[in-house]
Chain length 231, copies 3
């Protein structure tokens, strides 16, 4: 029953690249960056996580460079955002939705690729999470924003953790197939979007500390363009 | 006629490393960083793009680590800036010129190295662009500045794109040699410097948006030390 | 006499991972990041330097992914900081101490690993320094702070340089063993902590410039949460 995933799930990976690439072009739009920067940011976000994954797996040049098909999603995302995006208002919602789509697909493809080359299931989960959050981290770091990943008012990495862990469990149990993969992707996407909509929050890094009381102690964390910008 | 490029064009690469290293030390000077940080920033900018390139090509340890000659340009750049640089005023012009020199050489060496190991010409262009802009991106990200690459008031990546595409075309046509390489480098360098001098701008990431009207919508993008600092 | 270092010094590496991971969780605590972000920051800082090192050495997947033991120190650090850390006041001192511990161990393990695979001793020193400062650089860059590495009011990279150079010299002389390793680690740790306590400063990147006189010329370097925060 593990059909469609025996070979590297290229089409899932490409769809994930496209979702992340759109989020990169949307950020470029909001930050008033030009169209060349938009293409570069789309490429960086879409391909970054997968390139890091493939470098760590150490099985030849990364897919993004050995398979020219990977170069189309960033190009398509840049062109679509250039012609179709019209309103600053819808920016955040759209970025979150596309980012969640990429997250849902990449936490699976990263974990599966790692398991396929024989990596330990726990290490495969870590690599899946890195693949999923890597591109977005690169996006926010290069655009000089506080990464969405570290926004304490939002839950970002937990859905990726959950998706990678589920994928690894299903794989070890021999039950990872198209149906369960679709279920995992749906769970991760829904978890991420609902967490954002309802402003779910994880506990802080220190037991017994509260968000409010630390306000004065926290450093001025600069240009976080993400928190408090919902519509 | 493809003499001098049959083996990895080491001397071109070393010259590019030196140019980028000087730009790193100049940024260290302006940001009031000490001499050890200057050496590290010079190494990061000079060697960063090439290390990323060699990691992706996956053909043994990066040149910067297997060939000790690569360690001299950053050292030389740090020492030169320490003893010869005297005026804050000339900082930006000098940084742009050296950065443009590195850009012109690296977009070629990156593309050629990728083509030499049999990469697809389109993927080779992407790798050439990444090699050229990678070091400068690392420089600006680690110094906590908005990358020059994403400054909408300037054209940075387009010359690298042009240079990498020309190199790839010439290579495929069998016409890449010392003369055409010098021509490509001159075009890229001139394009970059003139674009900066004349404040050429590419279209924004979204069709029909204008720079002025977005002023309120754009996030406070923090400490961009680059824009509006010409002399 | 080179016993205990003939194989990769895994336990030293793990201890270094733990020290850096604690520094990551402490930064997460101060920046008011949630516990998932704390785990990710701990993993990034603890494992980042070593992953970069192993990617460059190009000898199979990085240790952090091929040996599941590497996943425990970040988990342990996150849990310890969550339950045991109680005071914002002691934050900086603790972070500096743990960071110095990681620095002392990683500048050695990075250099030794490079020498073991036959890298040139000078390149091995560079890789040792990169291993030691890489994790902390990733920590500060992703948390959107000016890297500690580039803080001109502090000496950070010089102890790592000294430690890596000493390790390389001792190795070439055939005198690198448990005793000399402990001595090197002690020297690096002491150098780093005393430099911080006494506010030692290295010369600036330009000869004859002084910190005060550049105040107006220096860019507003944004949210450096590190300088001037001693207790």
């Amino acid at each position: 029953m593990t059909f469609a995933f025996d070979n590297a799930p290229v089409w899932l990976d490409l769809l994930g690249v496209f979702f992340f690439a759109v989020s990169g072009s949307l950020l470029a739009a909001r930050k008033n960056i030009d169209i060349v920067g938009s293409l570069l940011l789309a490429s960086l976000v879409g391909l970054g996580g997968g390139v890091i994954r493939d470098l760590i797996l150490d099985s030849g040049p990364p897919a993004a460079f050995s398979n020219p098909a990977y170069l189309f999603p960033p190009l398509l995302a840049t062109v679509l955002v250039y012609f179709l995006f019209t309103s600053v208002q819808r920016y955040t919602s759209l970025l979150i939705l596309f980012d969640a789509g990429g997250l849902a697909l990449f936490c699976m493809t990263g974990t599966v690729k790692a398991l396929e080359v024989g990596m330990h299931p726990v290490a495969a989960v870590l690599l899946g999470v890195m693949t999923a959050v890597g591109g977005g981290l690169l996006r926010d770091v290069t655009a000089n924003e506080v990464p969405q990943l570290f926004n304490p008012k939002d839950i970002y990495a937990l859905p990726a953790f959950a998706g990678a862990a589920l994928t690894s469990l299903l794989w070890v149990a021999g039950a990872f197939n198209v149906l369960t993969a679709a279920a995992v992707a749906t769970i991760v996407f829904t978890f991420r979007v609902v967490a954002w909509r309802r402003s779910w929050q994880a506990p802080l890094a220190v037991h017994g500390w509260h968000r409010r009381s630390l306000r004065k102690g926290g450093s001025g964390d600069g240009g976080s363009g993400i928190e408090g910008r919902r519509d």
